[in-house]
Amino acid sequence: MPVLPLTGGHRTGSPLRRTPRLALSETIGLLPFFTLVAVFLAWPTFTLFRMAFERTADSEVPAMREAITGTYLDSFVYTMKLSALSALLGAVIGAILTAAVVRIEHPRWIRNAVSSFSGVAANLGGIPLAFAFLAALGTQGLVTKLLDWGGIDLIGAGFTISNFAGITVVYLYFQIPLMFLVLLPSFEGLRPVWREAAVNLGATPLRYWRHVGFPLLSPALLGGFLLLFANAFSAYATAYALSSGGAKLIPVQIRFFLQGNTITGKGNLGYAMAAWMIIIMIVTMGAYLVLRRRAERWQR
């Protein structure tokens, strides 16, 4: 928090800066913003945690504690496994895709097209994405049928669009492009001279990657993985639409407990699950931001 108004900076001799100002004129433009954040973001978050620490019907411990026992814990583990798998696959495939796109120098529109598409697809989600995959990989899906002609029986192999494997595949649709967006600046920041220097010193491509390329990319790779994990963990609409509200995933479970509130008296479990979700977000997004700062060191 700032203390002295004098330290605000007199770098330029502009009249704007020299005007003697009241504390009010300095902050009045920020007032609407901080009011919005306080009322519609901070207060709901505070309420969420307050209710998460209350007890549910016939329980001895706060909901926060109860939410990480028994079947509720299973839900967390299930969601974490799914998020980790979709983040891992998204990160690996995203890295391979980025490496490939960077190698294709012409036609030049390829890189621009992949970047633009990724910008759209990384933010895609919700109902339309679920619909697209139902039409492609549902029991009556086009791709299911194509694979069937090719002799691959997806349904017979136990694949359903709403089970673990199915949701993981659907999430890759936004995870891979997101990874591409994270990695592209880092891949572009790998200067050809570093590679040439390594080759001149007798390194094989493999050794170059092991000792130069990969260490330089590792903060971006790890950071991207964490971002993808957080992204999958908090996704709601797609999972809800794919499973018709029946998925074991935490975001879908939160809704279930809130709506069953009056019947079961377990409504506070919904708050507790959401509170745990925020804690998981803080940890992963915090680590991501630290790693991103690291990764950006090489990009200029």
């Binding site: 330290t7 704007l16 433009g29 973001l41 207060w43 908090s234």
Partner: protein
Amino acid sequence: MRSRKKAPIWAWLVVSSAAVFFALPMIAMARFAFQRVPVALLGRDTILKRWTLDGLFDMFSDPDFRPALWLSIRIALLTVVATFLIMLPTALWVNTRAARYRSLVEVATLMPYVVPPIALVVGAGGAFRDIAPWFLRSDYSLVPFYVILAMPFTFRSLDAGLRAIDLRTLLDAARSLGASTPRALVRIVVPNMTSALSGSAFLTITVVLGEFTIASLFLKPTLPLYMSYSQGRNPQGALGLAVLMLLFTTLAFFAASRLREKGRRSTREAIGVLP
């Protein structure tokens, strides 16, 4: 990279398989929406038959469709207005008088990544249910939350727009010619950042038109909710609507990033929707 080397085969293989993976679900959705042939009967002789827009037209004539569309449009416009009223002063102040609050504001605008929509809506329900139930009943209760959801994009877009122009010189010039600060802002600064303003408006609209979680838990019959519920009644129409919404979102997104590039930012910032 300066050499004009030919890309290796594997790179082309990777890019083309990615193209297939990303194109197939969209093709499947469009085919389902606009062709009245069950997948089981698809073959060489049926592939060109019975393409129709009837599913979509049935949906347009559904009595629930128009109210949903209209509600989404009203909420989108209100969210854009509220975003300008709140985020424009914030970006202006952070770039002039209140520069020392910049990092605090930046951290606050990233909070929607830490509190995802599903957690935000749960907390908001608990917070407002007892104190202001009338607020939750109103359809417009979605607006402040949508301003917050769009904040990471809109603040950065407006901030980049302000940084791209020489704000201090413009303000000083206007003021030394006799304009008051508010007048200088309205007459000089805002007209100089129209691309940042319209860019953030487009981004806000795409956020509002795609948002399902909060609307669904607040039981507000917006377009995404209508789309989800009408899947049972008119699956073709629902998927057709999804295709239209994806097309619209894509166009709006391109418009937004094109406008941002006009502000002379690097490509990294142009696609910089990352937290």
